[in-house]
Amino acid sequence: MRTILFLLQKEFLQIFRNRLMLPVIFVLPLVQLLILVHAATLEMKKIDLVVVNRDLSTWSGRLAQKFTASPFFRVQDAGNNQEAAQELLRKGQADMVMVIPAGFERNMMREGEESVQWLVDAINGTTAGLSYAYASAILADFHRELLQETGYSAGMDLPSGINVRERYWYNPKLNYKIFMIPGIMVLLVTIIGMFLSALNLVREKELGTIEQINVTPIRKYQFIIGKLIPFWVIALFDLSVGLTIGYFLFNMPILGSLPVLFAFASLYLMVILGLGLFISTMASNQQQVMFIGFFFIIVFILMSGIFTSTETMPAWARTVNIINPLAYFMRVIRMIILKGSGLTDIGREMIAIGIYAVLAMGLAVWRYRKVT
C-alpha cells in the first residue's frame, strides 16, 4: 500500500510538471465543450435557396415570399433563368433550387394541384434530406393557406381532418446542444483515459525506466495500479468539469442522480484504462500507441451513437456495439442526464460494463505480465 502511495506521488508530480499534459487535462474539456457543442450541430439555418420563378403571378410571388420569411432559408432570386440557378448550384453557392413552372397559379386554381421542381445539392445526404424536409413543410403550409382562401376545402378530400400537435419528451425544445453535451463528455473521458494511460505506460518502456523499476521490489500489480489511478482520477475530474459547464453555460438539465452517473463512469473508466493498458503492451513507442489507439477509438466513436441513433444501425452493427464500451456510456449518460433514469433503468448496462471491466482489466494485466 505504501509503495502504491509513493508511485502515485511520483506519478502526479510528473503529470503536474509536464507542460503539455496540464493543458490537455484542463483545457481540453473546455475547448471540446465550447467549440464542439456549437460546431457539431444538425440544426439547419441559412440554407441557400435560389428561386426560379417562371410564373410571375401573385401566388408564385407569395410562395417565394414564404421562403424569404423563414429563418431557415436565405433566398436569392434568379428571375426565370434556370441556367443561372443551376450554375450557382454547381459552384456550391446554392444548396437548393426551386423552380416554379409557368402557369403555376392558373393550374392551382383550375386543377388544385401543380408540381414544383426541387434541385438539391446532396453531397451531404443528411443536410440535403433535412433541407428538403424543411422546404416541404413550408410548401405544405402554403398549400393549406391557399385552400383555405379559395374555399376549395368545403367538404373535399383534404387532410385537414387530423390536426397534429406534437410534444417532444426529454428535450422539449429539440435543443441539439443538450443532446450533444453528454456525448462529447463521453468522448472526452474516453480519450483522456485511454490515450494518457497508454502513452504514459509506454513512455516508461521508451525511456527504459521500466528496466530500473523492474529490479526494485515493486510488484507488477502495484505498478499498474499506480499508473492507472491518476488517469482514473483525472478523467472523473474532467467529467465533473464538463457537467459543470453543461449545467451553467448551456442550461443542460441534470435530471438523474449524479452518484449513479459517477458510479457508472468509474466502472466505464476501468474498461477504458484496461484497453489503454492493453494497447501499451502491444506498442513499443508512443507513435504506435497513437496509431493503435486511433484505430480503436475512431471505430468506437462512430458506432457509439454520438450523432446517429444506434437503434437505426443495421443488425450487425448493433451486434458489434455489444463490445463497444462507448455505446453503453453514450446511452447511459443521456438516460441519466436528460431522462432522469435511475439505477434500476440502467441496471442492464451497469452489469454489462462491469463484466466488460473485469474482462478488459484481466486481459490487459495478463498480457502485461506475459510481455514484461
Binding site: 509503495t3 525511456l207 527504459g208 530500473q212 529490479v215 526494485t216
Partner: protein, 312 residues
C-alpha cells in the same frame, strides 16, 4: 560457496545465439569486468544476472539463490545500472533518489554513508531535473540510485560508454572505493584499457566466453611474441604485411601496427626492409609487451577459423 556463479547459461533470440554456454564465477569483494565488443552478449548476460531475463538453459546463483526463482531476495542484494540512462528525466536529482529509496523501504538519510562518495558531487544540483544533467553527472546519479538500498552486489552495464575521459577515470576511482567498502562489482565495458583496472576479467565475443582471469594472467598467457611497427603510411604497409607468408596476423592499433609472426625471422628489422621498399617514410620494428587488446585479438582468432591471409 562462491558469491556469484554463472553456470552454462545460454540464451537465444530467435535464430541469434546471444549467449552460448557461459560459465564463470565472481568472488566476494571483487571488481570483475566483462570485456567484449558491441553485440558480444554483455547486456543479455547482465539482464539475466539482474533477474530481468530468463536464460534458455543454465542458471545463475547469487549467494546460493537462483536468480530466476528467488528474484525477490536477489533484487535486494543487487544494485543494477542499465546501459541506457533510465531514470526519470522529469524528476529532479533529489526526487529520483528519494523515489528509489522509498520504493526500497529506506531513505536518503539512512543510506547517506553508503552513497555519499558518489552523491556528494551532485548535491549542488539536487534541484535540477535529471534530464538536464551532463553525461558524467547522469552517470553518478544512476550509480547513486543503484546504491540507495545498500546492495552487496553492483551490476553495471557499460557505465562508461559515451562518457568523457576525465569522468571515466573519476568513475573508476569511485568503483575502486566502493569495492574497498566491500561491495562486489560486476561491470561490462567495450574499452580494453579499462580491463586493466579490474581485479579479474572475462573476455566475451559473439556470445562465447573466450578466457577468464586477472588482467596480468591473461596478458601472461599470450602465446606468441608480439612486435610493434611504427612509422608513417602504415596503411599501405599493412596490406603488404598481411600478404607476407611469415606473418600470422597484423592489425592497426592506434597509430601503430601490431604483428605476430607465423615463422619468426632472425632479424625482424632486416626482414621488414624489403617490404617497406616502395612505401615512403622510415619504419621501426620492436618487440612489445602484449596488452589486453592484443590478447583479445589473439583469442578471437583462435575461436574463429578465418583464412590465414586476411586474418584479423
Amino acid at each position: 560457496m562462491e558469491f556469484l556463479e554463472v553456470i552454462h547459461v545460454s540464451r537465444s533470440f530467435g535464430p541469434v545465439n546471444a549467449l552460448l554456454e557461459i560459465s564463470f564465477t565472481v568472488h566476494r569483494g571483487e571488481l570483475f569486468g566483462l570485456i567484449g565488443p558491441d553485440g558480444a552478449g554483455k547486456t543479455t548476460l547482465f539482464r539475466i544476472v539482474a533477474s530481468l531475463l530468463l536464460p534458455d538453459e543454465g542458471k545463475v546463483l547469487l549467494k546460493g539463490h537462483d536468480v530466476a526463482k528467488d528474484y525477490k531476495q536477489v533484487r535486494r542484494i543487487i544494485g543494477y545500472m542499465p546501459g541506457r540512462f533510465s531514470l526519470y528525466h522529469d524528476l529532479t536529482v533529489e526526487e529520483n533518489l528519494s523515489f528509489y529509496a522509498t520504493v526500497f523501504g529506506t531513505s536518503l538519510k539512512e543510506s547517506a554513508a553508503y552513497v555519499h562518495r558518489v552523491y556528494s558531487p551532485l548535491i549542488p544540483f539536487r534541484k535540477r531535473l535529471a534530464g538536464k544533467l551532463s553525461g558524467g553527472m547522469k552517470q553518478k546519479l544512476a550509480l547513486s540510485c543503484a546504491l540507495i538500498h545498500r546492495p552487496e552486489f553492483l551490476v553495471l552495464d557499460e557505465p562508461t560508454t559515451g562518457v568523457d575521459a576525465v569522468s571515466r577515470k573519476e568513475f573508476w576511482e569511485m568503483l575502486e572505493e566502493l569495492r574497498d567498502m566491500g561491495i562486489t562489482i560486476l561491470i561490462s565495458t567495450p574499452y580494453m584499457d579499462e580491463a586493466g583496472l579490474c581485479d579479474r576479467v572475462a573476455l566475451i565475443d559473439k556470445g562465447k566466453l573466450l578466457q577468464t582471469g586477472s588482467p596480468s594472467e591473461i596478458v601472461r598467457t599470450f602465446p606468441a611474441k608480439l612486435y610493434v611497427i611504427r612509422g608513417e603510411n602504415l596503411y599501405s604497409l599493412l596490406g603488404r604485411l598481411r600478404k607476407s607468408p611469415e606473418v600470422k596476423y597484423a592489425f592497426m592499433f592506434g597509430r601503430e601496427i601490431h604483428l605476430v609472426f607465423r615463422r619468426e625471422p632472425d632479424d625482424p628489422a632486416r626482414w621488414l626492409g624489403p617490404l617497406t621498399g616502395t612505401v615512403d617514410g622510415t619504419f621501426s620494428i620492436d618487440p612489445l609487451e602484449p596488452g589486453m587488446e592484443d590478447c583479445f585479438v589473439e583469442l578471437m582468432g583462435k575461436k574463429e577459423p578465418v583464412d590465414g591471409e586476411e586474418n584479423v
